[in-house]
């Protein structure tokens, strides 16, 4: 199956959940209703025609007006792939976890939570993974401002070159 066929099959099963299918892209993708993402994922995994047994990548993107969580699905049985997206509001973005569908989502969702601030509802271990527990803000958000110090450790490096550059300005 090519990705578009996968999306059409999903649409047959969940007519309301597939909000949009973008075919004219390097990797065609489908936009899914956040409320239905777990059902769609479980269907794509269990359906004998799609058999997406692996969540090969999960990441988040901040588009300034919304946050998208991107799911790259892959089937080792049929060697085809699909890309799903959910669009979330920027204030308190939250979506149900797909950890119950693929175990690999556990760590990838923790990373998205850590760096973009998306909460995954029902996740078994929703903690920061890469940044320190008390780090302020979500670094991969576009409006993130790096704090000048962390526990008394300066994050700014004093350098003669930087000082010269500042003088020129």
């Amino acid at each position: 199956m090519n990705p578009v066929q996968v999306y059409e099959r999903t649409k047959e099963r969940f007519p309301a959940a597939v909000l949009e299918v973008v075919e004219k892209a390097i990797d065609p993708f489908a936009v899914i209703d956040p409320a239905a993402i777990v059902d769609v994922c479980r269907f794509l995994r269990d359906d004998l025609e799609t058999a997406m047994d692996c969540l090969s990548n999960q990441s988040g993107v901040d588009y300034k007006d919304r946050i998208e969580v991107v799911y790259h699905l892959f089937s080792y049985r049929y060697r085809h792939s699909a890309v799903l997206k959910v669009k979330l509001p920027r204030d308190n973005p939250a979506v149900a976890t797909v950890e119950t569908v693929w175990n690999s989502a556990n760590w990838m969702e923790r990373e998205i939570f850590d760096l973009l601030g998306v909460t995954f509802e029902g996740h078994s271990d929703m903690r920061r993974i890469l940044m320190p527990e008390d780090w302020p803000g979500y670094p991969l958000r576009k409006d993130f401002v790096e704090p000048l110090e962390y526990h008394g450790i300066s994050t700014v490096r004093d350098s003669a070159i930087i000082r010269l550059d500042a003088k020129k300005k």
Binding site: A25, I26, D27, D53, C54, L55, S56, N57, S59, V61, D62, V70, H72, Y76, R79, V83, W102, N103, S104, N106, W107, M108, E111, L115, R128, I129, L130, M131, P132, P139, L140
Partner: protein
């Protein structure tokens, strides 16, 4: 069993522990010598490389990719190059692709040598490590001749590679392969078939094929569980479809399919396959340029793509979003070590503390690749 349990003990292992291959920390809940679970605590090497990408532009990001996985820097270089080429629709010249394959396969050899050497050292066989490092040093020399660096190569560019092979490189490379292949047999005799070694590795940390796929394990760790899957063979990129090589899969010869010994043997066997690919690539390399014409002010059209390639630690995924400007909007690297760390908690339950070291080493996790 519950009658015999003792008071639960919480132990800390790392972050500065020699067997953690970088800076990793585990919180171990143990009952005597048997672990209830080992909770990995990562992030000590987080350098926000994905955020840096958004600030430095497409060409400028290439040296940073080296730092994603400094043991396999050629692959991270290549992944970034491939993602940008896919976004902008750039065709790499054939000689450039061959140079990439040669550099990448040498890097795979270096990475696997380190992996098997460190595997021995981690469980107490210190000598094989020095031998493996000796052979790896020569690869570093070869790669240094190619690009001037021994670890963080910055060799590839968007659209090809930075420099052509230097004069006389083929002879040197072939001489090295002639030297390495018998040495691999020596390693087998010294380490692989050593009875104590096998006893330490066999039946430890068994991962079934279904688990491996579910936890998104990739590369040698996946193949050791019996899944015959290699991106080079199954979704061929670059010029890998022009080479004849085998994909070794785990057989469970000394224990159970998918145990630590299988993961070790896969790497030993893959090194021989890499030698095969290198010989063919060195023999077949065509003439021509090595770098496509790519504008200095590189602005790929708005869009997004994902590419996958087979790094030393397996399927590495680069997800790049472009908004049409000179800076990428978002870059995400999905690495093999990150996924491999995710399964350690599950595998550690019921394992002896001493075997945790075996497990980490057999999964060949590299801390910078987890944290990025």
């Amino acid at each position: 069993m519950s009658d015999f349990t003792t008071e639960e003990m919480t132990l800390n292992m790392g972050p500065q522990h020699p067997s953690t291959h970088g800076v990793l920390r585990f919180i171990i809940r143990a009952d005597g010598e048997v672990m209830r679970e080992a909770i990995p605590d990562v992030g000590y090497l987080h350098r926000s490389i994905e955020k840096i990408a958004e600030k430095v532009g497409y060409h400028g990001f290439m040296p940073y990719t080296d730092r994603v996985d400094y043991v396999c820097a050629m692959f991270t270089n290549q992944g970034w190059g491939m993602a940008c080429e896919k976004l902008a629709g750039i065709q790499v010249p054939r000689r450039g692709e061959y140079c990439r394959v040669i550099a990448a396969e040498f890097n795979r050899l270096a990475s696997h040598l380190l992996a098997v050497g460190a595997m021995g050292m981690d469980i107490g066989a210190a000598t094989p490590f020095t031998y493996a490092i000796r052979e790896r040093e020569m690869i570093n020399d070869l790669l240094e001749e190619l690009c001037g660096a021994r670890l963080t190569f910055n060799y590839m560019r968007i659209g090809g590679v930075a420099w052509d092979l230097p004069p006389g490189y083929r002879e040197k490379a072939l001489a090295y392969l002639d030297h390495l292949e018998p040495i691999l047999d020596e390693y087998d005799a010294l380490l692989s078939y050593n009875k104590i070694y096998i006893k330490r590795l066999a039946n430890i940390g068994i991962i079934t094929a279904q688990e491996a796929i579910d936890y998104n394990l990739v590369g040698p760790n996946l193949r050791a569980s019996g899944v015959k899957w290699d991106i080079r063979k199954d979704i061929p990129y670059s010029v890998y479809n022009e080479f004849d090589f085998n994909v070794p899969v785990g057989r469970g010869e000394w224990g159970t399919l998918g145990d630590s010994m299988d993961r070790y043997m896969i790497r030993m066997r893959e090194m021989r396959e890499s030698c095969k690919i290198l010989r063919q690539a060195l023999a077949k390399i065509p003439d021509g340029s090595v770098l496509a014409k790519v504008p200095r002010n590189f602005k790929p059209p708005a869009g997004e793509c994902q590419i996958r390639l087979e790094s030393g630690r397996g399927d590495m995924g680069w997800y790049v979003v472009s908004d049409g400007s000179a800076y990428p909007w978002r870059v995400h690297v999905r690495t093999g070590s990150f996924a491999a760390m995710g399964i350690i908690n599950k595998l550690s339950r019921g394992l002896m503390i001493a075997d945790l070291v075996t497990l980490i080493a057999s999964l060949d996790v590299i801390a910078p690749e987890i944290d990025r």
